[in-house]
């Protein structure tokens, strides 16, 4: 009887171990699979041409990703510029000033926001943000725009990454030892001075990690951005120009990709590009966050 129990134990130990190892290798498999599919395009044109050429003519087998990379960078940059200050201010307020009641009211709302599917953000962007840009914002600066612009994409993305930044920052701020705040306050510093000189200084690496994670989330967001960015393959010159971020390009062309030679390989290369960048960004910020957690324990 005892033997059966022990056998069962070691049997499951082996199965669970194998599953764990297999599942970790998903990370590697993802990269390899996408790389394997992008070999044809990497053979037919050079990496620098793929990354820095603006010529996008799938029928002539010219695949220059520059406009799409720039589109991605524009929307990501706009979303971070909007989201970062607002999120830091909110996180400081919630962790340092706000009464428990307010915190208990606001945090669930932010959590709910993070559960809203991307396509609904897209619908909202089309209904609210695009018309506002077209009718109220843009006419002050440019002569004509449809409103479908990198700015619209940036605003929608900013709202999508609020919950991510805030939840990480609150954790980072909570990990700063209370004694440090007390020491600063007892020296006669005001609460705001304590926040500036102690809390923020102690959390620099956490803020960096949160920002990098937010950037990589913004990088890969697809449907919402696809719906509001206008999708013209051009390099945007202002925030009111249309852009065509990489994920939107992949999503929009899946239908045609099997009928044009090299097209599927080119799109897989785009996915590989996203994967590599986001993998690196995520790895860096997770390691920073892991160190912070270890330091406080």
């Amino acid at each position: 009887m005892k033997n059966i129990r022990l056998l069962k134990d070691s049997f499951f130990s082996k199965i669970f171990f194998t599953l764990t190892i297999l599942s970790i290798s998903t990370v590697v498999l993802l990269g390899l699979g996408l790389y394997y599919k992008s070999i044809p395009i990497l053979h037919s044109s050079s990496l620098s041409k793929l990354l820095f050429s603006s010529e996008w003519k799938p029928f002539k087998e010219a695949f220059g990703f520059y406009p799409f990379i720039m589109g991605t960078l524009w929307v990501t940059a706009i979303s971070i510029v909007i989201a970062l200050p607002l999120s830091i201010l909110t996180a400081i307020y919630l962790s340092e000033y706000a009464p428990i009641r307010v915190r208990k009211l606001v945090l669930p709302l932010i959590e709910l926001l993070s559960g809203i599917p991307p396509v609904l953000f897209g619908v909202w962007g089309v209904l609210v943000i695009v018309p506002i840009i077209q009718d109220y914002l843009a006419p002050h600066f440019v002569e004509f725009t449809t409103g479908y612009s990198v700015l619209a994409g940036g605003i929608v993305l900013a709202i999508m990454i609020f919950p991510l930044i805030i939840s990480i920052l609150i954790e980072v701020f909570d990990n700063v030892p209370q004694e440090l705040r007390d020491a600063s306050l007892s020296l006669g510093a005001t609460q705001w001075q304590t926040i500036k000189k102690v809390l923020l200084r102690k959390s620099v690496d956490g803020i960096v990690a949160a920002t990098v994670l937010a950037i990589s989330r913004a990088f890969g967001e697809t449907i919402a951005v696809l719906m509001v960015c206008g999708n013209l393959s051009q390099v945007p010159n202002s925030i009111f120009d249309s852009g065509y971020p990489l994920p939107a390009l992949i999503a929009n062309n899946y239908g045609e990709m099997m009928s044009i030679p090299m097209y599927d390989s080119a799109l897989m290369f785009a996915a590989l590009l996203l994967f590599v960048i986001i993998f690196l960004f995520n790895a860096i910020s997770r390691i920073i966050l892991f160190r912070i957690e270890k330091r406080t324990n």
Binding site: R5, L6, D9, F12, S13, F16, F17, L19, T20, S23, I24, T26, V27, L29, L30, G33, L34, Y36, L86, L89, T90, Y93, L94, Y97, V106, P108, L109, I110, E111, L112, L113, G115, I116, P117, V119, L120, G122, V123, W124, I159, I166, T190, Q193, S216, R217, G220, T222, I223, P247, I250, A251, L267, A271, L274, F275, I278, N282, R286, I287, F290
Partner: protein, 279 residues
């Protein structure tokens, strides 16, 4: 002077907190006010009829059922894979062992990989295995996407089970496998929260199923048929120039919003009960 600066920043903080908290209501308000008017019983109880996409009759039952199939299938499949992993890194592996840490790191990273990359990868596998866009391909791809969510959330739930409890189970002579069963039972509310979380993500995701599940006007009857999904149904209808069709996209958005809100709020309530019953 110090006071003025503090007050300015405090004002800014309250402003941004209010702004960020209100975005949820702005989004919900827009979607409900636009979509409720077109939401009829036919919308949720009928599949598209001929000429649906030029404004004729029918509904989005195909997308609702398709989404449910994919979400249920992938959640079940995901649980089958992720529960053993969570057990392994928490109970079999030594505390803070290299393998446990590297597993957690990998899942943190996989959690951050966007669904479009999973979609492209799923498509690559699909082509490799000779599958067509189908319910099965959609389920496999979505499963890949939600395993990280399941593992991370369940890992958190299992980790808060007190050490003493585990030790007392061991001291009664239980094997690790038997201990795992007891620890899992103890973390059921956390596991339910994890399931609901991944359910919400799976039902709302569009980029994953775009390549793999395809789209169809009928309800799939077997795994190798394509399946429609709610987010894609919203997306496709919204790109139509016809107002009637666009309105139906808003109505479909209301349906998706209600489903997601129910899931999120249930998850919230369950996880609240988790902290109440903790020993």
């Amino acid at each position: 002077m110090r006071k003025i600066e503090e007050n300015i920043f405090k004002g800014l903080m309250i402003f941004s907190t209010v702004l960020i908290s209100s975005t949820l209501f702005m989004i919900l308000y827009t979607i409900f006010s636009k979509g409720l008017g077109s939401l009829t019983w036919d919308m949720v109880s009928k599949i598209p009829e001929g000429g649906f996409y030029i404004g004729k009759g029918g509904g989005i039952l195909n997308a609702i059922v398709g989404s449910l199939y994919i979400t249920l299938g992938s959640t079940l499949l995901g649980l089958l894979v992720s529960i053993p992993i969570v057990i392994y890194i928490n109970i079999y592996a030594k505390k803070n062992s290299f393998l446990a840490n590297i597993t957690r790191l990998s899942y943190d990273i996989l959690f951050g990989i966007p669904s479009i990359v999973y979609g492209a990868f799923g498509f690559a596998i699909m082509v490799y295995m000779g599958l067509k866009t189908s319910l099965l391909a959609g389920i496999i791809t979505v499963t890949l996407m939600i395993i990280p969510i399941l593992v991370r959330a369940m890992d958190e739930a299992v980790r808060v089970v007190p050490e003493e409890m585990r030790n007392s189970v061991y001291s009664l002579g239980a094997t690790r496998y038997e201990t795992a069963k007891i620890i899992l039972r103890q973390s059921i509310p956390g596991i339910v929260t994890a399931i609901l979380l991944s359910f919400g993500r799976a039902i709302g995701d569009a980029a994953c199923v775009l390549f793999t599940a395809g789209f169809t006007d009928s309800i799939p009857t077997s795994l190798d048929q394509p399946a429609a999904t709610l987010p894609l149904s919203i997306f496709f209808q919204l790109s139509s120039p016809i107002e009637e069709v666009q309105n139906r996209a808003y109505a479909a958005a209301v349906v998706l919003t209600i489903v997601v809100l129910i899931i999120s709020i249930t998850a919230k309530i369950v996880s609240k009960n988790l902290s109440k019953n903790k020993i």
